[in-house]
């Protein structure tokens, strides 16, 4: 698929993989590949929680035609590793896969995948949410949007996902 893998995986005891990709990816294929390659969890997991974040064609009342995602190589992987380690200390989790895009992204492209395998649904749901919210506030990624009008703007900040 011509995918360029910027960072391969970080092993944190359990089967944990963090991937930063410069090319479009198929989250369902990533999940399948990861699950097939993780023989240790066969027979052990009763719950898989999957979150996929996708690019919208609108933001803040404007039509958005594309965006560029910048990141801080090295710090991104370090922070995501810390977030996953913290989750694994708080909850019972078997495996975690996090995939995040950088570079040029267009509406309907997947931006982020967080997949969590656990024995029970409570931990799977909670860890998926925990990783996603922590990623939003700590992982050093920045979005620059290209609007329909061809104006370009940096996204100011992420909102708190727990706020109603």
């Amino acid at each position: 698929m011509g995918m360029k893998l910027l960072s391969s995986h970080q092993s944190l005891g359990a089967n944990v993989e963090v991937k930063i990709l410069t090319e479009p990816f198929d989250p369902w294929q990533e999940i399948q590949q990861f699950q097939l390659s993780s023989s240790a969890m066969q027979g052990k997991y009763g719950a898989t929680s999957i979150f996929v974040g996708t690019m919208r064609d609108f933001n803040e009342g404007d039509e958005v035609t594309g965006m560029t995602l910048e990141h801080y190589p090295g710090m991104t992987e370090k922070q995501l590793g810390k977030i996953i380690t913290e989750a694994m200390q708080k909850w019972q989790v078997l495996d975690v896969l996090v995939v995040h895009r950088v570079g040029d992204i267009f509406p309907d492209d997947p931006i982020v995948l967080v997949a969590v395998w656990s024995s029970h649904r409570g931990d799977a749901f909670d860890v998926s949410r925990f990783i996603m919210e922590a990623l939003k506030s700590k992982a050093p990624f920045w979005k620059k949007e290209i609007l329909q009008s061809e104006a370009v703007r940096w996204v100011d900040k992420n909102t708190d996902g727990y706020k109603k």
Binding site: M75, M132, L135, P140, W142, K157
Partner: protein, 76 residues
């Protein structure tokens, strides 16, 4: 001592470069590095990292450290 300072996203654009290599004689804090480079106070919404870990502005840096300044993160 020699310190690498990096900037990202909108901050990189407003400063007009992605990094500086600085040499200091005395121990210096993150906030003082910013002041030396920009001749202004460090805005409170800017985030700072040393060696890829988030730090408070009063953190002291050591020889060979990589300091980074960037705006609020917007991934996911």
């Amino acid at each position: 001592m020699s310190i690498k300072v990096r900037y990202f996203a909108s901050l990189k654009e407003s400063i007009g470069r992605s990094e500086d290599e600085l040499v200091f004689v005395d121990v210096i804090s993150v906030v003082d590095i910013w002041k030396k480079i920009n001749n202004e106070e460090l805005p409170s919404n800017i985030l700072a990292a040393v060696n890829m870990e988030y730090v408070s502005f009063d953190t002291l840096v050591n020889d060979g450290d990589e300091v980074a300044f960037f705006p609020p993160v917007t991934g996911g």
